[in-house]
Symmetry: C2
């Protein structure tokens, strides 16, 4: 609990510290993945579960847009819908994620059905959408700040996977390339908003708490759930 | 209650019949307005109340987008966000509506505050957003079919107002010009969806019922509320 008001710079540092301490780049599953130590079935499980996160991202963003009070804010946030759903058929982040699941040999209809999903993945992703729907707008925006942390993990993941798995190509990992530009741009907008609008110790505590929660959810969606599964095998 | 299955063409005819019987183009307030029989204060009251409808349209559309299951559907519906919020500052339907309230001599901050709104307007508009949030997607989409009826009312309104009020210019009524193209395009998409997806008598009854309700709401937002007010003066 923050008891004194942080300056905007201190708040930014505290938010970034959460990534340094909690983001799933620190998780052993991430290390195994980029070091080439997972088998194809384990990578399939990761991609299949993470698909649910990808396909719910536009729902999360549209839910927030529905709550944003001005055309300016809605226009800025709308970019995310374009990024994930694309502007034409067979474009956008969801389509690119499906090329990853294709490349790993998963049936597209099976992936889209989400019938193979681990329950914990569904729980974590739905909880993220719920935050954006139910919490104050400021916290909804702060919850998206996990994007601050993603470029590092993406760079490690892509470089490592291309080097260490002979069945993975640059095309299969095409999802990640635009994210290296999109994520920092989105994170910058959200960070500016949060620094400007979290003006009391209570609001600052709330945005730090929601990012802590969401850094955990984000890990649940993409690595921790699979880790649990691997350990149960 | 529809007890037998209608063909797509019969369903379309039944939906359009609702407009012919219930849309607020039939209301005496609309006639007074385009015939030049309202004073400036009465037109201000109309524009002020109708602003709330305009400013909540993106919330309605984003709420629906959040529920739509595929990138294809979300991309198609996203066009409405662009139409209402614009692509640049000072563009889009909400901005153009504010030029109407400007032109009628209303203070922009007062309009945007919605503090002068009639309670019944707030009720009707919020009920529309609730339909799209809470009812099945099919009904949410059907509720937007009031756009089938708007080109006729717009043509009468714009022509009549320009002819009959010396304080109203084409620029003031600029909101309506793009709607003559946007509304039919949007309505066609929604109508196709409804004809394709309302496949049981129960679903067909539901889409007819929701359009009946929304044709009434739409009148509440823009004419009936003001009519009530005029009759109370």
């Amino acid at each position: 609990m923050t008891t004194q008001l942080l300056s905007p710079a201190e708040l930014e540092a505290a938010l970034k510290q959460i990534g340094a301490e909690r983001y799933h780049s620190l998780h052993p599953f991430h290390e195994l993945m980029y070091q080439g130590k997972l088998n194809r079935g384990q990578l399939q499980a990761w991609a299949l579960n993470r698909y649910y996160y990808q396909c719910r991202i536009p729902a999360k963003d549209a839910t927030l847009i529905a709550r944003l009070p001005t055309p300016e804010l809605r226009r800025a946030w709308r970019r995310r819908l374009h990024d994930h759903d694309g502007d034409e058929p067979n474009t956008g982040g969801i389509e690119r994620w499906l090329r990853l699941t294709d490349g790993l040999g998963l049936d597209r209809d099976y992936v889209i059905s989400t019938s193979g999903l681990l329950p914990i993945t569904r729980f974590a992703v739905d909880a993220y959408v719920d935050i954006v729907r139910d919490r104050p707008i400021l916290e909804g925006i702060a919850s998206c700040l996990t994007e601050l942390f993603s470029p590092t993990i993406i760079a490690e993941r892509v470089g490592g996977m291309l080097a260490n798995y002979d069945f993975i190509t640059a095309d299969t990992l095409g999802y990640f390339t635009p994210r290296l530009d999109q994520a920092p741009m989105d994170a910058e907008f959200a960070l500016d908003y949060v620094k400007q609008h979290a003006r009391t110790p209570e609001q600052q505590s709330a945005v730090l708490a929601v990012l802590r929660t969401n850094a955990t959810f984000s890990g649940l969606c993409s690595t921790r759930c699979i880790w649990l599964m691997l350990n149960q095998e």
